[in-house]
Subunit: 527 residues, 2 copies
C-alpha cells in the first residue's frame, strides 16, 4: 500500500469512526493534499481539483483535528489501552447536556406531549404543560408536529418571541420581524449570504472579532466573503476599542467593501460582557460607516460577573433615539442551545430583524422558503423559552429551581476556572463575565516553541495536543479562534460538572508544571 | 401614501401574516421592483442594489404567490367573508399530515420517550418502544437529545440506515458513507454546493428534469450554478429518453461545464416510476459523460401502479458491475417527510454517498461540521424508519396496519385523481405510478390565453388563480416546475383525505366546465 493510499484509508476510517463531538477533518484534508494523494483520485468526476475552492478553504476548529484525536483516544481506552489517565474530559464545545447538565423538565414534558398528543389526555403531566402543548399543536398544520410550518416559523411562536423581547428590552418588538430557525447558525448564514456581491468593484467583507467563534470564519470562507478581523483588547478584559475598529476598517477598505460587523456579546470564546457605553459606541461606529450589525447574543442568559449586565443591541439602539433607532440595520440572534436550557440537539433558535429594507427582507424570506421550515420540535422548545412558566402556574416552582440551579452552578464554575488559571505560573485568564468559556493566555518556554516548530505545529496546538495525550483533557487551541501573533491561548468550556471540573483543573496544573519543567530548564516565565 | 409605499406596506403585511403552507414572496418582490420601490430604500445599508443577485433570482413556486393569495382567502373566510365556497382546499404541497394523515404511532411514542426519558420508566408504552428509545439515548451525548451529535449523525442510526439499504437492495452498504440530515433538501444543497467552480473556463452546470421539483432550480440559482434542463417525455408517461439527455447535454456543453445530473424517481411533480432498464441507460449516459448522479429517491415507498417497482440507483449500479459499480459517483437522498410516515415537520433525512473521492467526502464532512448537527429528534425518526418494528415485536401489528392503511389509501387516491382528470374534456393526465402528485395537462381556449396575456399572467397561472378565487382549490401552476412551451399543466397533490378529494374533484369538474364555456364559445378542445 502506497503512503497516499494509507492516508486515504486512514482518512476514511477517521471520517466516520469518531465519537460525538469530533467532527472536523482539517487534519485529514491537509495531509492528503500534502501527500499528493488527491492526484490518485483525479479520475473521479468530482475531485479536489474541481471542488468548490471555498469548501476546501473553510475550517471549523471546534470540531477540529484535536477533537478527532480525542475521540480516537476514547475508543482506545474503551478497548483497554493503558494510558496515564482513565477518561477523556471534553471541554472543547459548548454542549452542556453532553457534560451532564439536566434538561429543564417543562421543556421536555411539552416536547413529549407535542410529539405524542395522547399524553395530553392520558398523562399526569401538569396542566400548564398540557395546555401549552395543545396551544402549540393548534398552531401546526393538521394539529401535528409532522406538518410543515411557515418557513419563518409558527405565527404563535413568533408572537411569543416578540413578547419575550419586549419584556427583556422594555420596547416594542414586531413579531413579523422574527424568524425562527434551526439554531442560530442557520439564521446567521442566511443573513451573511445576502452580502455576496461586489460593491464599487471591491469584494464585500464583514468585520469579525479576533478571537471569534469559527462559524463566522467558516461561513465567510464558504460564501467567498472577505474576513476583516478586529482585535479584542485582552488587557481590558477583551474590551472592544473603537480605535481598533477604525484601524481595522481603514486598513481593509483599501481592498474590500466592508459592509457589516459581527459582535458576539457575551463573548465567545472570550467570555466578556459589553457595557452599555461600549455598545453605544459600536452602534455609532456602524452608523458612521454604514455597516449592518450582526449581534450574536446567544449567551444573553449567561451573565455571571458582579456588575456585568446584558444589554441587547436592539434595546440600546432604541434608546439612543434618532438617527440610530431608525437607520441602523441589525440582526440579533438567539438559540435554545445555550443559556440555562442547553438544548443543543433540538436545533431551535430565532433572529430579530431591525430596520431591514422590506424588499431585502422579502427576498430573505423567499430564500428560506425553499428550505421549507425549521423543525417543529425545535420551534416548540423556542416557545417554552420565549414564554417560560409564570408565577402561579403549576410548573413554575420546578422551572425556577432548575433554571437558577444551572445558572448558579455555571457562575461558580466560571469563577473557579479563572481563579485556577490565574494561580498557575505563566498563565493569565480574564474574568469569565459571561457565556460558557475561558480563553486563558499562557506563555511557552523557548524550547517548547522550537519543539513545536520541529513537529510542524503551531506552539499552542503543540501544547494542547501534549495536554490531550498526557491527561485526556480536550480543549481547543487559540489559533482556531484567532489571537495576536506571538500569543498563545486555548478555549476551555466551563461545562464539566463541578467535581469533574475540579479534577480537570488539578490534572491541568500538574501537567503544566511538568511541561514547563521539561521545556524551560529554569527559564523564568511570567505573564 | 404613494403607490410604492402602498406596495411596501402590502409586502410587509404579506411577509408575515400568511398562514402555514404559504411562504414564498415572488409576487411581492417582482411588483416592488416594477414599481421602483426599491429606489426609495437606497439609503439602506443593505438594499436591492447591493443584495446577493442569486438570492434575488431564486424562486420557489411550491410556496409561491398563489399560495399567499390562498392564505389571504382563508383568513378572509375566517373573518366571515362571503365567497362561492366555504374553505380553501390545499393541494399545493406534499404535506400529508397537514391534510389529515395520522402519524405512525410507533414513531411518536419513541419520540416522546426520547424527549422525556422518564416515560421509559413510567409509561405503559410497549416494550419495544421503550427499548428503542433507550438505545437511541445511549447513542447521544450525556444520553440526552439535548446534546449535539456528530455532524453526519449518530453512529447507531447511520448503521441502521446502512442495514435498511442492504435489505432494500440486497447489497452491502457502508455506514460510513451515510450522512444524516435535516430533511433531504439540506443534504441535496450540501452536495450541490461542491460543484461551484468553473471548469475549463466554463461555469459548472447541473442537468435537471423539466418539469422538476423547484428546490433544484432555486438551489442552482442560489449557488450560481447553471441549470441544464432536459425534458421528460409526457407521451411515455413522463419517461426519460436518453436521446433527449444527449441533446440537452450537447446543447449546454457549448457554454457550460455539465458536471452532474439530477434524477427524481419516483417523479415529482410527474409521478412516474423509472424502469430498471431506463435507470441502466441513465447510468451509462452518466458514465460516458463523466456526470455525478443526484438520485432523489425520497418517494421510494410511494409506488402504486401495477407493474411499477422502485429500483434504487445504487442497486442498479451495483448489479451492472464493472466499470459502473466502481466508477459512477452517486449521492442518493431520502427523507422521513414522504413515504407512509409523512413526518415533514420533524426534519429528518439521509443521503448515501457512493464512489465519492475520499478527499471530497472529507471536505464535505468538514463543511457540514460548522453547522453542528441535524436535529436529534429528526434523527430519532430516521431510526424508526430505517428499522421499523419487526414481526413478533409488540408494536409490529399496529405499525403494519397504519403503514398499509396510508399506502393503500394513497394508492386509491392516485387512481381516482388520474381517472377524474382523464374524464374531463380538454384534460390529459398520466398514470400516477408513484410519489404524491398528478401533473395533468390541460388545453385552454384561445380567448382564455388572450385574457391571461391582458392580465399579465402566464395562461396556466391565470387558470389556477381563477380556480382558487372561484372554488378555494389551491394547486401550483406548471410554470413553477417547467413545461414545454405552449403546454399548460398544474401540480396537485393526492393528499386530501378521500372524501375531501372527491369533493375537490367534483368542484374542479364544475369549475372547468364553466371556465371552458365562458371562454370557448363553442371552440372544440381536445388533448
Amino acid at each position: 500500500m502506497s503512503p497516499q493510499m494509507r492516508m486515504i484509508t486512514r482518512a476514511s476510517r477517521l471520517l466516520s469512526g469518531v465519537a460525538a463531538r469530533s467532527e472536523a477533518f482539517v487534519i485529514i484534508v491537509d495531509p492528503l493534499k500534502r501527500f499528493g494523494a488527491a492526484r490518485t483520485m483525479a479520475s473521479k468526476v468530482l475531485n479536489v481539483d474541481n471542488l468548490n475552492p471555498n469548501v476546501l478553504k473553510l475550517e471549523y476548529a471546534v470540531r477540529g483535528p484535536l477533537v478527532i484525536r480525542a475521540a480516537e483516544i476514547e475508543k482506545e481506552l474503551q478497548k483497554g489501552a493503558q494510558k496515564p489517565f482513565k477518561k477523556v474530559i471534553w471541554a472543547n464545545i459548548g454542549d452542556a447536556q453532553a457534560m451532564g447538565q439536566k434538561p429543564i423538565t417543562f421543556i421536555r414534558q411539552v416536547l413529549a406531549c407535542v410529539s405524542h398528543p395522547e399524553l395530553i389526555e392520558k398523562s399526569d403531566y401538569p396542566e400548564d404543560v398540557k395546555h401549552r402543548a395543545q396551544e402549540i399543536l393548534n398552531g401546526m398544520g393538521g394539529k401535528s408536529c409532522g406538518a410543515y410550518t411557515q418557513s419563518h416559523g409558527i405565527e404563535l411562536i413568533r408572537r411569543r418571541v416578540a413578547e419575550y423581547i419586549e419584556r427583556r428590552d422594555g420596547h416594542k418588538a414586531n413579531w413579523q420581524d422574527i424568524v425562527l430557525s434551526g439554531g442560530a447558525s442557520n439564521a446567521i448564514k442566511n443573513v451573511l449570504q445576502l452580502f455576496c456581491k461586489d460593491v464599487d468593484g471591491k469584494p464585500s467583507g464583514v468585520m469579525i472579532p479576533i478571537p471569534q467563534y469559527p462559524l463566522y470564519s467558516a461561513s465567510l470562507a464558504e460564501y467567498g466573503l472577505q474576513q476583516c478581523g478586529y482585535y479584542l483588547n485582552e488587557e481590558t478584559n477583551w474590551g472592544l476599542d473603537i480605535s481598533e475598529l477604525e484601524r481595522s476598517r481603514d486598513e481593509y477598505m483599501k481592498n474590500v467593501a466592508v459592509r457589516a460587523i459581527v459582535i458576539i456579546n457575551p463573548g465567545n470564546p472570550t467570555g466578556q460582557v459589553l457595557t452599555r457605553e461600549n455598545i453605544e459606541s459600536i452602534i455609532k461606529f456602524a452608523h458612521k460607516h454604514k455597516l449592518f450589525i450582526f449581534a450574536d447574543e446567544v449567551y444573553q442568559d449567561n451573565v455571571y460577573a458582579e456588575g456585568s449586565k446584558f444589554f441587547s443591541f436592539k434595546k440600546v439602539l432604541t434608546e439612543m433615539g434618532a438617527p440610530y433607532n431608525t437607520e441602523v440595520e441589525l440582526a440579533s440572534f438567539m438559540t435554545v442551545s445555550k443559556g440555562y436550557m442547553g438544548e443543543c440537539g433540538l436545533r431551535g433558535g430565532w433572529m430579530e430583524l431591525v430596520n431591514m429594507d422590506p424588499v431585502v427582507q422579502a427576498n430573505l424570506y423567499k430564500a428560506i422558503s425553499a428550505m421549507l421550515c425549521p423543525t417543529t420540535l425545535g420551534q416548540t422548545a423556542v416557545d417554552c423559552v420565549a414564554r417560560p412558566p409564570q408565577p402561579g402556574e403549576p410548573s413554575y416552582e420546578l422551572f425556577i429551581k432548575e433554571k437558577t440551579g444551572v445558572l448558579d452552578s455555571l457562575n461558580k464554575r466560571a469563577k473557579m476556572i479563572a481563579d485556577t488559571f490565574n494561580n498557575m505560573e505563566g498563565f493569565s485568564c480574564n474574568t469569565v463575565q459571561g457565556a460558557m468559556y475561558a480563553f486563558p493566555q499562557f506563555q511557552l518556554p523557548a524550547r517548547a516553541i522550537e519543539a513545536a516548530k520541529a513537529a510542524g505545529q503551531a506552539p499552542d496546538v503543540y501544547y494542547v495536543f501534549k495536554l490531550l495525550e498526557e491527561t485526556g483533557i480536550c480543549v481547543v487551541p487559540g489559533s482556531g479562534f484567532g489571537q495576536r501573533p506571538g500569543t498563545y491561548h486555548f478555549r476551555t468550556t466551563i461545562l464539566p460538572q463541578p467535581a469533574l471540573l475540579q479534577e480537570m483543573l488539578d490534572i491541568f496544573q500538574n501537567f503544566h508544571k511538568k511541561f514547563t519543567a521539561e521545556y524551560s530548564q529554569g527559564e523564568k516565565l511570567s505573564l
